[in-house]
């Protein structure tokens, strides 16, 4: 043994360390190694067949559900590798390992010699051999997905608009997270599970059934004891067939039937492989002193781990060992206990889920109506296992007892209730400083307290400093509690959540008051007066929108606060060109107008002329420099297709021509668009009017819509959507004239301008306020606001001017310049 160690680190020569797999464990290992001075010993080379740097796979569920951005998941950007002198072959798959020559071969002919080799290849989704998985025997059928990588996640999100119903095969943790994500994205979701209860790996039957009931309450359909046998559809998924002969039509299928460790490379090069790559307590592959394996691909003492906490522990042990810090560091296995994040349901599990024998004591409590189930397995007076579903407030205390094997109090109920009741600050306060709060990153209460002492007094800075909460995020609430406890008065709440914009520490109401009281008419004056002079670029556009709403004509318009679209009054496209969409009121145009559009399109060589979904015409692919001349020649006002404002009012034929029409929707739509065109709003507003309930212009799924009904009446809808979100609007009021429609629409729009958060569409705003509340304020005038709202919207309408007038009077000589040339050149050395 010592022999091997000394061979490994013989002499002053640097060694070559090659890591296969740049996932959560491979990258963490390298990070830990560098933190221990590993750079002095090794030239580090990494292979990862995913194209990115390292990202947090756990948060993919959040991305799928739309609660996290891709940006949130990156752990180490490509630059980190460069800065630390690591050669990363990103997007390169290792195809063979030659242990005799000590070489690793990758795609594209890349060959790297090694002195020390670490396998961290993780696992791949297991796809059971169903009939009809592929179309024409080769590719996976369209609509069929696994859920493992960022790429899987992207493709699923891209596919969602093409589906209305999705089936998830597998009711384990991952399958349920996939189900939640798809549910959040508006699909009807079915979970098809082979076993007789959900999550049988972590839960006993009663907990599994309770979880099912809770999920069904959220709208997920669960099918138990169902074995899928076939995927239907020629080229794309059309449904599933089950072993019992029943079928389920669906357009999307996510297979989440477990994972299989990636062992083929190791197998091919002759390492010992059982279910995973077999490793010793040194995390070494038996029979080869220079090869190690960690992560989901490794099998240690017969055990495979599928959660990051134990795997990161392996990464740390190996780093200790290879950096020479603790040359005899060894890994002896982990007790798996974890808090899970399933569909927003509290769940903590640890140890065994069922008694091992008759001498184990089982304590259960269940309250099905509230979806609560708690179970303890007590073994020799100590905790052998626990399940906490629906209320995991006792989890920290139980985890603690479980991890340390402490003696439990005789009164078991105390464990479930008294301590649970003493939850929160007291619960945390009572915990010893060694208690682990973040189970992914192994951060103790003591470490958090120390970081707070060192000045990390907001949740974000505390998490950044300690890595707590940066794994699955389930412990954030407890980290917050430790922060509250340790920081006391020094605590700063995590600000930005309540701010109107991240860079000015005020919520919308307070910001509006401050702006009014202090007469702040420009964005820079807001930064100067309310943000300590700190000019946050991410806050500029939001402030500009607010100030314009508050001050109207008196707004001091600093152009740099505008997003590029609003500087040049056109929508920027992927190649830096723009689109020109002139206003066509209510979608009603004339031959003369069409001819002019055609002439301009031809004269300027517009690459694409397109009829939009908003009933008008888009000239796409226009260079910035061409914009002003084109506007002049069109002689039509801007259609505002590029900004946060009133966009369009689509119309249908209505009573004028249509045989069903009961209201003149065309005239009404034109009136609406003439009056409210270009009105600045927190997010875009799209409207429509329909001449009868057949609703050809889709008015019930617009931000604001009017639908004519029998008896000369109009229903006014608000909060509808049929974009990324689909929501039928709520009827605000039913009225009997065009004028009344215009009044209520205007009143609603002004209230929305004043109350909504920046970028909050009406489909979020209306449910947030509640249609009853809106009706009482805007129709019954319960707060006496109506007259003022009507006046304010009149003033805003009066302040309107067509931004395309800047074609004749640009605000700056370079406003529409694509690129400028220098005026001279000289030299120096």
């Amino acid at each position: 043994m010592m022999q091997a160690e000394s061979e490994l680190f013989a002499g002053p020569d640097r060694q070559r360390l090659v890591v296969i797999g740049n996932g959560m464990v491979g990258a963490r290992f390298v990070e830990e190694l560098i933190a221990r001075g590993g750079n002095d010993r090794y030239d580090i080379v990494m292979f990862g067949d995913e194209p990115t740097g390292n990202y947090n796979r756990i948060l993919l569920s959040g991305i799928l559900a739309g609660s996290h951005d891709v940006e949130d998941t990156y752990i180490n950007p490509l630059e980190w590798y460069e800065d630390n002198g690591i050669t990363l072959h990103a997007g390169v798959r290792v195809t063979a390992v030659d242990r005799d020559a000590k070489l690793v071969r990758g795609d594209m002919g890349i060959i790297e010699p090694y002195d020390v080799l670490v396998f961290a290849t993780g696992s791949s989704p297991f796809v059971p051999p169903l009939k009809g998985l592929s179309s024409h025997g080769t590719e996976m059928k369209e609509g069929l997905f696994a859920f493992r990588t960022l790429d899987d996640c992207d493709r699923m999100i891209g596919f969602v608009p093409k589906a209305t119903r999705a089936a998830v095969i597998g009711g384990g943790l991952l399958g349920l997270e996939a189900a939640r994500g798809l549910l959040e994205r508006g699909l009807e979701v079915h979970v098809v599970h082979l076993r007789s209860h959900l999550m049988e790996m972590q839960l006993d039957a009663p907990a599994g059934h309770l979880l099912k009931a809770t999920l069904e309450g959220m709208g997920v359909r669960v099918h138990l004891d169902k074995q899928t046998s076939e995927v239907l559809g020629e080229h794309r998924v059309e449904g599933l067939v089950f072993a019992d002969g029943t079928t389920l039509p669906c357009e999307m299928v996510v297979v989440s039937a477990g994972i299989r460790p990636n062992v083929s490379l190791a197998l091919d090069c002759g390492l010992m492989v059982e279910r995973g790559i077999v490793v010793t307590d040194e995390l070494r592959c038996p029979g080869d002193a220079s090869v190690f394996a960690i992560g989901e691909c490794a099998q240690h003492r017969g055990q495979l781990y599928g959660l990051v906490a134990p795997l990161w522990e392996q990464a740390k042990v190996l780093a200790d060992r290879l950096a020479g810090r603790i040359p005899d560091a060894s890994y002896t296995g982990s007790r798996v206990s974890t808090k899970l994040k399933v569909m927003g349901i509290d769940l903590a599990v640890m140890g065994d889920q069922d008694p091992a024998d008759a001498s184990d004591e089982v304590v259960t409590y269940s309250e099905p109506a509230r979806g609560i189930y708690k179970k303890l397995i007590v073994r020799d007076g100590r905790l052998g296992g626990a399940i906490l579903l629906g209320d995991a407030s006792a989890a920290p205390v139980l985890l603690q007892a479980f991890d340390r094997g402490t003696e439990l109090p005789d009164n078991r109920a105390e464990l479930l209730f008294q301590l649970a009741a003493a939850e929160g600050v007291t619960g945390i306060a009572d915990m010893p400083s060694s208690a682990q709060i973040c189970n992914c990153n192994g951060v103790s209460k003591g470490a958090l307290v120390a970081a707070v002492e060192a000045g990390h007094c907001t949740l974000k800075s505390l998490c950044d400093a300690t890595r707590a909460g940066m794994g699955c995020g389930a412990c954030k609430a407890q980290v917050q509690q430790v922060l509250e406890l340790a920081a006391g008065d020094r605590m700063q709440t995590d600000p930005s959540v309540h701010y109107y914009v991240p860079g000015v520490p005020l919520n919308k109401a307070d910001l509006v008051t401050a702006v009014r009281e202090r007469g702040l008419r420009s964005v820079s004056s807001v930064f100067a007066a309310l943000a300590g002079g700190h000019e946050d670029p991410g806050s500029k556009a939001g402030l500009a929108s607010l100030l314009r709403t508050i001050w109207g004509k008196e707004y001091d318009d600093e152009r740099d606060a505008r997003f590029i679209n609003d500087r040049v009054h056109a929508n920027v496209q992927k190649d830096g060109t723009y689109s020109v969409i002139p206003r066509i009121f209510g979608g009603v145009t004339t031959a003369e107008e069409l001819r002019r559009i055609a002439d301009v399109a031809q004269k300027y060589g517009v690459p694409m002329v397109k009829i939009t979904g908003g009933q008008r015409i888009d000239l796409v692919g226009v260079r910035k420099e061409q914009l002003p001349e084109m506007w002049r020649e069109l002689g039509m006002p801007s259609g505002h297709a590029y900004t946060k404002s009133f966009r369009t009012c689509k119309t249908c034929l209505g009573s004028e021509f249509c045989r069903y029409g009961v209201g003149d929707s065309t005239t009404l739509g034109v009136q609406i668009e003439r009056r409210y065109q270009g009105l600045e709003t927190p997010a875009k507003l799209k409207l429509a009017t329909a001449g009868c309930p057949r609703n050809c212009s889709e008015a019930t799924t617009k931000d604001v819509g009017a639908v004519a009904i029998e008896g000369g009446k109009w229903e006014v809808y608000v909060g509808g959507a049929a974009g990324a979100h689909v929501r039928k609007g709520d009827v605000l009021v039913v009225v009997d004239s065009h004028e009344a429609v215009l009044t209520y629409m205007g009143r609603f729009m002004q209230y929305y301008r004043e109350q909504a958060k920046y970028l909050e569409r009406t489909y979020d705003f209306v449910p947030r306020m509640g249609i009853e509340t809106l009706r009482s304020i805007l129709v019954d005038d319960s707060e006496g606001l109506c007259a003022r709202l009507d006046e304010a919207i009149d003033a805003a309408v009066d302040a309107y001017f067509d931004p395309w007038q800047e074609a004749v009077a640009p605000v700056h000589p370079s406003q529409f310049a694509d690129a400028l040339e220098p005026v001279g050149a000289g030299s120096a050395s």
Partner: protein, 123 residues
């Protein structure tokens, strides 16, 4: 003097004209010796920065981004960069190449490129 007469390892400076060619707080793309460069002018302080013109992510024109506090936010997908160092902020993009700039006594923006880089296509 033209750039062509400069030794390869020397620096060439380009006169981009007075700072007023760039609106305060905004950026502007310049075409300098055949290459695109983004030049930014801070609001209030009249500091200028120069970086590569296109975002490493998907080639968004950075000069069209929103600028503030020495940072630019790309107009296409909102990746943020530090203007002085070019470093990506909270994203996984590569660093931007940055160029030396100077404001002359008569408020002209001077941009320094290495002759090799500036004189593209000459070698």
């Amino acid at each position: 003097m033209t750039a062509a007469s400069i030794p390869l390892d020397g620096m060439v400076h380009y006169d981009l004209g007075t700072i007023d060619r760039i609106p305060p707080g905004e950026g502007q793309t310049f075409l300098v010796a055949g290459r695109e460069i983004a030049v930014f002018r801070a609001r209030g302080t009249d500091e200028v920065y120069a970086t590569q013109a296109r975002c490493p992510h998907k080639a968004g024109l950075l000069a069209d981004g929103i600028v503030g506090d020495g940072k630019v936010i790309c107009p296409l997908h909102s990746n943020k960069f530090d203007l002085a160092t070019g470093a990506p902020l909270g994203n996984a993009c590569q660093s931007l190449t940055t160029y030396r700039t100077e404001i002359s006594h008569d408020r002209r923006v001077l941009l320094w490129l290495s002759a090799a880089a500036g004189w593209s296509g000459s070698t």
